[in-house]
Structures are given as C-alpha cells and as structure tokens.
Symmetry: C2
Subunit: 411 residues, 2 copies
C-alpha cells in the first residue's frame, strides 16, 4: 500500500521560479491609469494591459513556465489542445525553447490563429468538434508519441507561470488594494491571487465570469467542479465548461469572490476599452471592466484597483460589429423608417432636409412589400451617421417638422 499522493499546490517560491523561466520571452506589460474608470467609480483604477503580451494574452507565461518545469521531459516535444490563445502561446514558447510543438485545434478555430501557430513552426492538427475533444486528442497523442501534454490551466506549473503577472503588479502598483481578474479555467486568477496575497494578504482579489458560461459560482457552492452546457459567448476565451480540480481548490482558497457579468455588458466594455483606453481587448479580457462598470464588484474605497485585461485576440470583424452596435446605442447611428409620397422628387426632398442637419447619409432602402401603404405612398428606411444622441434627436425633430412620421428602427 502506498501513501496517497500529497495534494498538489502552488507556492510563492514556485511563482518566483517561474518568473525567471518566463522572463526573457514574456513581456512585463504596462500598467496604465484609466481616467474613465476612475471617474465612473470615483476611485483610482488602473489597467494591467496584458493584451499587449506576446501572442496577445497571458497564456505565454504559463506555457513558458511549464516548459521550464518539464526540462528534459519535453525533449520529444509538447502537445496542446485549444481554439486559440493557449495553442498560440504553446507554439511561441516551444519555438523560443527549440522544442517541437503539436497543437490540436477545432474546425471552427479562426484561420488567423491557425496560421499564427503554423508561422511559429507548430504542427497543427485540424479537426475535433470542440475544444474538449481537441484537448483529449492532444493528451492521447502526447502519450502515444512520448511527448509532454500542456494543460491550459489545471496544472501547478502553468498556474505558477500565470502568477508571474501578480508579481509585476506588486512591483508596479505600490498602493494596490484590489485586483479584478477574468476567470475561465481559473489558472490566471489563482496564480495571481497566490502571488499577490502571499506578500500582501490585505489585497482583495475578485474573479469575473460571463453569465453565458459561469461554472465557478455553482462549483464553489457545491465544493466540486460542476460542468456547464457549452454556450456561444463573446467572451470565448473564458468559456470553460468545467473548472479544474486544482484550480477550483485554489480559487476557493485564495480568491475573495467570483462575480458574474451579463454578456451584453461585455460588448460595451470592449468598446469602452477601444474608445477611452485605446486598447483592443477581447471579450474574455474585458469582463473585469464590465464588472466595475456594472457594479458587480466595486472599486476599493482607498488604494488602487487594478483590472487585468487578460488578452486582445479578437478579429477585426467582431470589433466592427460591437463598434457598430455601440454607435447605434450612442445615437451616433440613426436608423429610421418613414412613408413618403410616391412622386418624383419626394425622396430627394427628404434627403436634402436630412443633409441640411449635418447628418451623413449611409444607406437608403425602399420598402414596398409587407407594409400597409397607400398606393400613392412608398416607404424608405434611412441610415444616418450623426454626431451623437442630441444631434440624432435634432435630425428627427426636423424630419417631423417637415411633416414626415419617422419610426425608429432598432433604436
């Protein structure tokens, strides 16, 4: 009979060692003051811009730490399964250390990430219907081929690597009072909490999940990992269906709280990061901003609150979509529908009227079918760019004053 294995854990010494291991490849990302979040919360708020990290997310820290811990045990290479950030980070870390890397990515992985991995010399296996399936393939392949498997979060070496971000906060934010950190598998949040609270137990660490895939709150209540249904979310980087055994234990032990933000608020947080902080942040990376804005967790009353922007890997297409939606909500994009007499010159008259208000015409569409119109009427849907809510209201007023009856569309 053998004694049970001692419980795995992660110590401050592990994180200090990891810092040496990641130091020359990972960047010490900047901490930037946020005037907007400070104004909104009435407190001092700074952003840890980990979206500016190599490969665009914190994952490179864990991958480098794992490779260092493996040492000779990864002589035949490493495998990973992931749709994005973790695969990319492993590919970069392996290249930096001259180690072979094979990644398993799902069919729907963005081509940009697949090509990013290939450009770093990784062998990419496409296929697998889900990330879970890819992780299983990666694990099986490692076993067969005598390679080392790198788990995205439930691994003490990976967690120690992510914790190095916490050490940078201790250095760069002297009056650190609170940390707001995204939670997916729990590797980043637990690593950071261990690094920071071991030195400064008074610092509060609050994790944030998105409501569409929030497995931690229920898992913490039950004391064991609870699996969730998969769900589409703008915060796909933290859409982890089941906490790890190790990370759940560490999150329970070290974090003060895990809160949940609504999906829609994440899109607005992405836009705020773009417009105000001038930073491109992916959905998963922006949940902390959403939580401060939405009040799911307050900023610290004294001292500095640091929001970790954990990654910035987001396609231009998604940015375009959230930016466009925001424009509409802010009144800078005005879409209305109105009837006009079906006579030559009617539309031109309406459009000149609109033009005189200074609004910029984006699109006009004639609608004739499925609408209750007099035979002498036609209907148009007009899309305008305005200078904001006030200006949009003024445009509508002018249109009404001229006898039209505009109906707002999607506003």
């Amino acid at each position: 009979m053998t004694a049970p294995a001692p419980e795995q854990t992660v110590s401050p010494a592990d994180i200090a060692r990891a810092r040496v291991a990641v130091g020359d490849v990972a960047r010490q990302t900047p901490v930037l003051p946020s005037q907007t979040l400070s104004d909104v919360t009435g407190a001092a708020v700074v952003l840890k811009a980990e979206n500016l990290q190599r490969t665009g997310s914190f994952k490179i820290r864990g991958a480098l730490a794992k490779l260092a811990a493996l040492g000779e045990r990864c002589a035949r290479g490493v495998t990973a399964g992931s749709a994005g950030n973790h695969a990319w980070a492993c590919a970069q870390a392996a290249r930096s250390r001259g180690v072979r890397c094979e990644v398993f990515m799902p069919v729907e992985a963005p081509l940009s990430k697949v090509e990013g991995c290939r450009a770093l010399g990784a062998h990419v296996h496409m296929g697998g219907a889900s990330v879970d399936e890819c992780v299983a393939h990666a694990r099986a392949h490692a076993e067969e081929a005598g390679m080392a498997f790198v788990h995205p979060f439930d691994d003490p070496d990976v967690i120690a690597g992510q914790g190095t971000l916490g050490l940078e906060l201790l250095d760069d934010v002297p009056d650190l009072a609170k940390i707001v950190v995204p939670v997916g598998g729990g590797g980043l949040s637990s690593g950071v909490a261990i690094a920071v609270k071991s030195a400064r137990p008074d610092v509060e660490v609050v994790g944030v999940q998105v409501d569409s895939v929030a497995a931690f709150p229920e898992s913490l209540r039950r004391g064991e990992p609870v699996g969730m249904e998969s769900s589409l979310t703008i915060a796909d980087g933290i859409a982890v269906k089941r906490p790890g055994d190790l990370t759940l234990r560490l999150v329970r032990q070290w974090l003060d709280d895990v809160v949940v933000v609504p999906e829609d608020d994440v899109a607005e947080a992405i836009v705020l990061c773009m417009e105000k902080a001038k930073l491109v942040v992916e959905g998963a990376g922006a949940v902390g901003v959403a939580a401060l804005l939405g009040g799911q967790t307050p900023a610290a009353a004294t001292g500095t609150t640091c929001v970790i922007l954990s990654g910035g890997n987001v396609d231009a297409g998604l940015l375009a979509t959230v930016a466009r939606r925001h424009e509409t909500e802010a009144g800078r994009r005005l879409v209305f529908f109105t009837r006009v007499p079906d006579r030559p010159g009617s539309l031109a008259r309406l459009l000149s009227l609109v033009g005189e208000t200074g609004a910029n015409l984006i699109h006009v569409e004639h609608l004739r079918e499925g609408i209750d119109l007099h035979v002498r009427e036609t209907a148009v849907q007009i899309t305008l760019e305005t200078r904001g809510r006030e200006h949009a209201d003024e445009v509508l007023r002018c249109v009404r004053d001229a006898g039209y009856v505009p109906d707002l569309v999607g506003g």
Copy 2:
C-alpha cells in the same frame, strides 16, 4: 531703427525645462516591441504608444509646456482653436493648472470631443466653418479678453513640450537608430528631432505625411510655407494646410526626410495596429506604420527603429468601417451576386449549400430590377463571413460546382 528680432528657436535646454513642466500630468507612455513590423521589415521595430497618453494624444505635452512658459501671462486664461486633440489637450492642461480655458471648435467637430472639453471645464465656442477660422477666432478672442493664445504647433514652447517625447525615447530605447514620426504642423516631429539629435546626432528622424494633405515636401523644396487645398482624409489629425514658419525651418534643419504615404495604406495601418499590436490608433497616428509597411522609408539596418503612434482619438464608427473593409479585403467577408431559379425552395437550397461550407450568413438581398434576368430567374446578393481567403475560395467553388454563377461584389 530697432534691430530685427533674433530668430526664434528651440534648444535642448528648453526641452529639458519642458520635461519638468509636463512631468506630473502627462504620462511617460510605454515603448512596445512590434513582432509584426519586425518580421515584415527584418529589423527591430518598436512602437511609442503615445495613443495611451492623457487626452489620447501627444498634444497635452505642448499645452502643459506652454502654460508653464506663460506663467503669470495666462492668469486671465488661455484660448485655442481646434477640431480635436489640441483643444482637448489645452482643456486638460488648463484644468490641471487651474487656468480658465476657452476653445473654438468647428461645427463638424465630433460631439465626443466637444463634450470631452466641456467635461474638463473648458468653455466651448461652437461655430467656425473650418479649423483655420476657429484658430483665428481664438487668437482674436485672446487679444480682446487679455487671455493667452496657444497655437497648435508654431510656437517654441509648444515644440519644446512635444520634444519631451524624444527624451523618453532616449531613456527607453538604448540602441535607438531611427525614428519615424507623423508630420502635421511639424511641432511633434521637430521637437522630437531636436531632443534626440542634440544628444545622438546619428539617429535618423523621418517624418511622414498623408498624400491627401502633404504640404511639407513642396514647402521644403521651395524653402517657404506653401498652402494646400483642404481635403478629406482619414488622417485628419495631420491635415494641416500650411506649415508654420518656425516649424518649417526646424523640420528643414533637423529632420532627415519627410515622406508621403497613400490614404488607403493608412486605413490598413489602423487595422494592423488593432489586430496585431492591440492598440487603437487614429489615422494621423498610424502614418508611420503605413510608411514602414509601404517601404516609403525602410527600418534601420542595425539598431532599433521607433515608430511614434501619436494619437488614438478615433470614433468607434470609423474603426468599424476600416475593420469591415479589411475583413472584405482579407477574404473574411465574402459578398457575391448570383441568379437563382424563381421557384419555391431555390434560395433555401443555395443557403443550405453555403451553410454546409461553414460560412456564416450575414445578409441576403433579392435583386429583381435593373438586372437582365429571365422571367423565371431572380437574383440575390449574399454576404457571408468566412474564415479567410482560402475558405472564401472554397465557398465559391462549392457554389460553382452546384451550377450557380457567382459574381464577386466589391471584392
């Protein structure tokens, strides 16, 4: 007879003094390595992320330096004329120093900037058909009211303030070999060149203008400021129609070259900054990136090349537009037109076919008029999101194999 006034100039000592004056309000913005630009140029390229500056651009440096130089002479307040960054910077600087500020902004100024100035306590005069008119109003109002006028660039104190950015580069980039800097009025570029080349004459400094409003090359050739026609440009922050007398002299004396990039390349540079560097940069701020990508100026063969991202004040709407256009160009947005038999189920069959390829349907439009169609045919325009060029080609192949004849729209 009085002797002619000595020629104005800006010395390294002026810039050192300005650094003290701006130090507590302006941020020392980070210098970030750019893997993408380094890969493209085969050289070491870093980005000076001045888009992360307070008020979103370098202008705060010059405004603070001017206020310090004015001292008691701005006791009755300052005025400025600008459509954006300079007005905002003056409002912030004046607020920080407890000085009254009045800004003159053109009618078409973005509401976000108008409100930004108001939120900082500035009195905003709307009106003026152009920036030039606003500058004239600001100057006249300063004279009447006994206030001090702050020119956006043609002023030695303002130039010294902008030069403080150069001192940060000397500190942060030990092997600095070349600087690529946007040129509008010439305040930033000449200030930075004086700061850097006074200490390190071997560092090359190249200015960049956008072809739609590039007054410097001709002015440098003729040896006197030459005025340009006003023109719409995505780089509106550097759309200065006429160089200043002082800045033209300093640019001529201190810069190695001023190159010009095409308008379209600026939009692609904005997207590259978003997608790769995770930074939101306005058009004027991205011209240096465009110049390195387009080869208008090469990166230094040895040592580090630093591209100054001078500002990040850009509306979400414009970001959405450039991102969307980029998606189309990268094949991630596919728009095609095809005829389908005008029978129940025809469109459904085409859409299932497309769906099976994994492309995401964004929009379908029926087109019946103005197209040469058989009476039994209808035409549709289909907008899809794909995983990239290769995937888009595969979608088109499938559509063709099924007997349709797709015509690309705007591709």
